[in-house]
């Protein structure tokens, strides 16, 4: 349907288009909203503005190359996307990363999770009318991005994981700068709570808004903080541990209310868990090689492989079908944002149009991951 067509339906409902270029949709997402006064009757997402068909591209890339395409899906969880692909190939080859590589993977993944949640915290403030959080969040996020840049050479699309380990060893400054960052962040984290968490305006706009029940969260396939905000235990790091998460101590953050405030609290508490995880590992990185020796041309045996990891937004699944050649026969990415988005209509229905912005902010969508 073209924009502007059928603006008023027969029932007197008013149809408006939000996006694709709208700040609250966090990317090129187009929402078509049916309104009765200010009340939302229906929300329909229109996708495809950034569809690159990564799955088709991967079919002609080798098992080393296709990992790089996945940094461009959820660009705020690039390390976790790469890890998922590397683990799938390792599963197919029957090899394992070295202990040092595993520790590096966890460290970088948790740093990425921190930086992703900080960006989200800044933007939720911006969406709900507070500008200050954005500057506070980016102040700390810069430090993490600098650490990642020093080791990986890039700030967003790092492409650091390879089958069998990681691309290079950590930068000599990594430990020192991570310690500095953690010290700084722990001293500043209470400011986050002071600014938003207890704020009356913020609480009024998020509490009881966009409620998602436990049963619906499972049925819609929601994962990550969205599902955990509804009390669904779904942390892949606990359920199906990979890379040695089972040896580390951390708790799965759960909130029971299922509203925007619960999803907000899950991410706030998850940041503390990520700090805890990094602290356990940063001084105990095993010595040794950062990569297992692999052949130049990787060929996976005939069969199917499935690997999931916990990205900052939920469960990313990589489904790989191999026919024995040096490129995948078929690859499918079960992306967390895609499934979380499917619950949007259910959550927004019956609410006010202003609530839609709050719901979108706590869904924390990254549109390139939805469209792939």
């Amino acid at each position: 349907m073209l924009l502007g067509e059928d603006q008023i339906t027969e029932d007197g409902e008013f149809v408006i288009n939000i996006g694709p270029q709208h700040p609250s949709t966090h990317g090129v997402l187009h929402l078509k909203v049916w309104l009765d006064g200010e009340t939302i009757k229906k929300v329909q997402p229109h996708l495809g503005y950034i569809h690159r068909s990564i799955e088709k591209m991967c079919e002609s890339l080798s098992y080393r190359q296709f990992i790089f395409a996945t940094s461009r899906m959820d660009y705020l969880s690039a390390h976790m996307n790469n890890t998922a692909c590397a683990l799938t190939v390792e599963k197919g080859l029957g090899i394992e990363a070295t202990p040092r590589a595993k520790a590096i993977r966890i460290l970088l993944s948790e740093l990425t999770r921190l930086s992703s949640h900080q960006l989200w915290w800044g933007s939720i403030g911006l969406d709900l009318g507070a500008v200050t959080p954005f500057f506070h969040a980016f102040r700390e996020r810069e430090m993490i991005n600098d650490i990642l840049e020093e080791t990986c050479g890039a700030r967003l699309t790092q492409n650091f994981m390879v089958p069998g380990g990681v691309m290079t060893d950590l930068h000599p400054n990594f430990q020192k700068r991570t310690h500095e960052m953690l010290k700084n962040l722990k001293a500043k984290l209470h400011e986050y709570d002071d600014l938003l968490t207890g704020n009356v305006i913020f609480e009024n706009r998020t509490k009881g808004v966009g409620v998602l029940s436990k049963e619906d969260a499972v049925s819609y396939g929601c994962t990550g903080p969205v599902a955990r905000g509804s009390g669904v235990s779904c942390d892949v790091r606990k359920w199906f541990p990979y890379d040695g998460y089972e040896q580390l101590q951390f708790e799965e953050v759960l909130e029971e209310d299922g509203d925007c405030y619960a999803r907000y609290m899950v991410r706030m508490r998850e940041m503390k868990q990520s700090i805890h995880l990094i602290e356990q590992l940063i001084d105990n990185i095993p010595e040794g090689d950062f990569q297992t020796k692999t052949k130049n041309v990787l060929k996976l045996p005939k069969g199917e492989f499935y690997q999931r990891v916990e990205t900052a937004r939920g469960e990313l699944g990589v489904y790989l079908v191999s026919d024995g050649a040096s490129t995948p026969y078929r690859i499918h990415f079960r992306s967390p944002n895609f499934c979380n988005l499917s619950a949007l209509n259910h959550m927004a229905k019956g609410g006010k149009i202003g609530d839609l912005v709050a719901i979108m902010a706590t869904l924390d969508l990254v549109i390139p991951d939805v469209d792939r």
Binding site: L47, S219, G221, G303, Y306, G317, Y319, R334, F338, S342
Partner: protein
């Protein structure tokens, strides 16, 4: 339930089921018309209780289409992969599962858009990523258009 118990249970429900254990999960292969009754049973039966459909996709095997459903039970913690074979590759058709798992609705639209599988009784089957007048289905193995570069 263990894999063996699942096997016996499913064989009771569908005697023609074929099992495969080549991957890490138990795989069940069936024909497209058997899908909906079996899935309804797997969801509602308290012994199987597959409440979470965590992946839905399709594979084009050049002579047939294979729908792949990854199922998990949050309460009983067992996994099952159901594969439904669609023999008619030119006009593939299968029942929609959006009544059973709500997540299927959007994921089936994706498969319809990229593979051209027609889901019967789907509430809103339209193109998802591609434009509405797009010709062909990009993830099919024989798909070509004038903009594609052959390496």
């Amino acid at each position: 339930m263990s894999q063996e118990e699942l096997k016996t249970k499913i064989t009771e429900l569908l005697p023609s089921a074929i099992f495969e254990e080549s991957s890490e999960f138990l795989q069940l292969i069936l024909d497209a018309p058997d899908l909906l009754p079996l899935m309804t049973e797997l969801r509602s039966d308290t012994q199987t209780d597959f409440d979470y459909l965590f992946n839905l996709t399709c594979v084009d095997w050049k002579d047939h289409m294979m729908m792949v459903y990854h199922l998990f039970s949050k309460t009983l913690k067992h996994t099952l992969v159901v594969k439904a074979k669609i023999s008619d590759r030119e006009q593939p058709e299968i029942e929609s599962l959006s009544e059973i798992w709500k997540t299927a609705e959007l994921q089936e639209r994706e498969v319809f858009d990229l593979f051209g599988v027609n889901f019967l009784h789907h509430p809103d089957l339209r193109r998802l990523f591609m434009e509405e007048d797009w010709k062909g289905f990009p993830l099919r193995k024989d798909y070509t258009d004038e903009n594609m570069i052959q390496l």
